[in-house]
Symmetry: C2
Subunit: 376 residues, 2 copies
């Protein structure tokens, strides 16, 4: 295969498929919109790179005003700190000896690196590793908003904070509370009440930290789905939004403060191009994107181009998809390229090595998805 | 991150997770078992590399007696032919100008390359490209076993064959009929009747080819789920099995000729290692493999190690999974490594860059998953 950068200057419609395409105007607009939104509420932005897995986008977010960058895994942090980014927060506990060695290598490059902790034994291990290296590792107490995925129960937050504060190799900075299960609640009002319920309990822990003279400079959490909601919790210092950059149908279908049926504040900046490869049926056509190019999770993708035709995509195995046309009189020819908004952007991005970056339909750059596959 | 090859000599239990591990004894046994099974029926083996996406495994299959190798996409063929493999069959139509250029580059390296065709216009395009290059491209007529994914209806197979035979840049070799929708039918008897129904219609087209003096040297198709079934269709020349190498819970749960409840002829040679990272709940523990490490498709994965405990895995978002223990009195510590048989091997393999290859629990090699991400 030729170098994808050779396609710079090409029209989007002439790209080989399946591939991911970014509309740079929309991406820049989304980055700006979220930054302005949070700034207007006096909050900081600590965007999550697990969505886009691209150090170039992370850098754009920092340049636009973000005060740090989140990742889910140590292997993602490794890529970002090697790319020169600073202030990386790892939002899941790092618990094994091998991962802690990798974490310490990241800390060596990024002294502002932070990690969350939800277990006293883990805090002790991190303390020992940091002391051995002559470093001090910033940590946040991870609080569980009723999901049970990671985090301590609220009632144990203060005690874990006090334990961390007693360990000289660690520097307690505050708390994290991420209510992942709130993000896609369809009703905006229900989502608001649900998220506030958890965030207010986390805020109570934050005030306990203050009352007990524990460091309480950071209260981080939230996601794209609650970005209009958690910005109104006074104690929250920064929001970990990710999907707002690229967007997907999963987020487009939730209600927002503007409209109970949709969330259009952040138009999808990323699309998937796919080509019709077989047209022997009247009921549907076969395209070249299946499970391995469009992650099968969440609601179905939507067909953006060609416009004016009512269409539906469905998966047809590992390698293929089917396109159903509402108007059965219409027929596509083999080679027809379609543009889809994907179902769930995070795991779909993770299937590709690069984005074609476009302005007004022309390829202007190619960005490596350099955190792709970094699940460790 | 350090070079994964540095882990050669390590014990499987000490590998950093999530990662994919191959038990080489089991993989070699599966390769041998399928080869012997098909040879005993007088059939050839043309294994599908879309499952393992690894040119080293493809080469092992060839060395064990396979007469060629299948891929789903041109970008996969590119990797295999560059790795020196010959006799590659692309099992989906290749229809765009750009893909045909890439196909012709593959043909230049592998004169035995073949591709399927399900459209007369496409046949003409391939003919022109081959003639322009001064080559002759081997093609198979792709027949649709009622799925509508790719392929022409049986009644149109002969006419398409005749059209191809009239094009001097193409060399007609025979037919393909792949009944993907038959592979996972749970009842062995139902699967047999269903698959034979389609394969016998394809065999009729194959006999039409013979009656009309069209080349009919290849009738390829079948998969792991019908490998005990389609080998009994006299006209079938070779089987395109893939999953038998690595296996997954989707295949383990179908009935077989030996047992109506399971299919144990090919023990799972590939497993996923994942680590417990959070243990603050009594009902479940959190592990470090989620949607991005274990593709969410098919039945749930099964927990293989530690043995003797009844456990269930469920996905908990992009980055995490939950392990439910039947015995709620038992508790894991953070850092505990678990070994899972994955749900659907093909798309899960596509999430990783390499396999750790083990014998008796020790890492003996690292194999790149060099077709990973090749969805074009």
């Amino acid at each position: 295969m030729s170098n994808p950068r050779d396609r710079i200057g090409a029209s989007k419609g002439n790209l080989d498929t399946p591939c991911l395409v970014i509309d740079l105007d929309l991406l820049e607009r989304n980055i700006r919109t979220m930054q302005e939104h949070l700034t207007s509420f006096g909050k900081k932005l600590r965007p999550h790179a697990k969505t886009h897995k691209c150090s170039i986008i992370a850098r754009k977010q920092m340049e636009a005003g973000a005060m740090g960058i989140c990742v889910a895994k140590v292997s993602e942090a490794e890529v970002l700190v090697k790319a020169g980014l600073r202030g990386v927060l790892i939002t899941s506990p790092v618990v094994t000896d091998q991962k802690i060695i990798r974490l310490m290598e990241c800390l060596f490059r990024d002294p502002d690196l932070m990690v969350v902790v939800d277990n006293p034994t883990n805090a002790r291990m991190l303390n020992e590793a940091a002391r051995k290296q002559g470093s001090r590792l910033s940590v946040l107490v991870d609080l569980d908003p009723g999901m049970g995925r990671t985090g301590v129960p609220f009632r144990e937050g203060l005690a874990l904070g006090q334990w961390i504060e007693s360990l000289p190799g660690l520097r307690l900075r505050g708390i994290q509370c991420y209510a992942g299960h709130a993000q896609h609640i369809v009703s905006f009002e229900e989502r608001r009440e649900f998220s506030w319920g958890w965030m207010k309990q986390a805020a109570e822990v934050f005030r306990q930290f203050q009352a007990h003279k524990l460091p309480a400079e950071i209260f981080t959490g939230s996601g794209t789905g609650t970005s209009e909601i958690d910005c109104r919790v006074p104690e929250v210092t920064d929001l970990q939004v990710g999907s707002y950059t690229l967007m997907d149908t999963e987020y487009l279908h939730i209600g927002s403060s503007d409209d109970p049926r949709k969330f259009e504040k952040f138009p999808p900046s990323m699309t998937l191009l796919t080509t019709v490869i077989s047209t022997n049926r009247r009921e549907f056509f076969t395209v070249d994107a299946g499970l391995k190019a469009l992650y099968h999770h969440g609601p179905g993708p939507s067909v953006k181009q060609p416009e004016g035709l009512e269409m539906r995509y469905d998966w047809a195995g590992d390698e293929h998809g089917k396109i159903f046309l509402a108007d059965s009189g219409k027929k596509f020819e083999i080679g027809q390229v379609l543009e889809l908004v994907v179902s769930h952007c995070d795991p779909t991005v993770n299937l590709f090595d690069f984005f074609y970056v476009t302005r007004k339909g022309m390829v202007v750059d190619v960005w490596p998805i350099d955190l792709r596959g970094k699940c460790q």
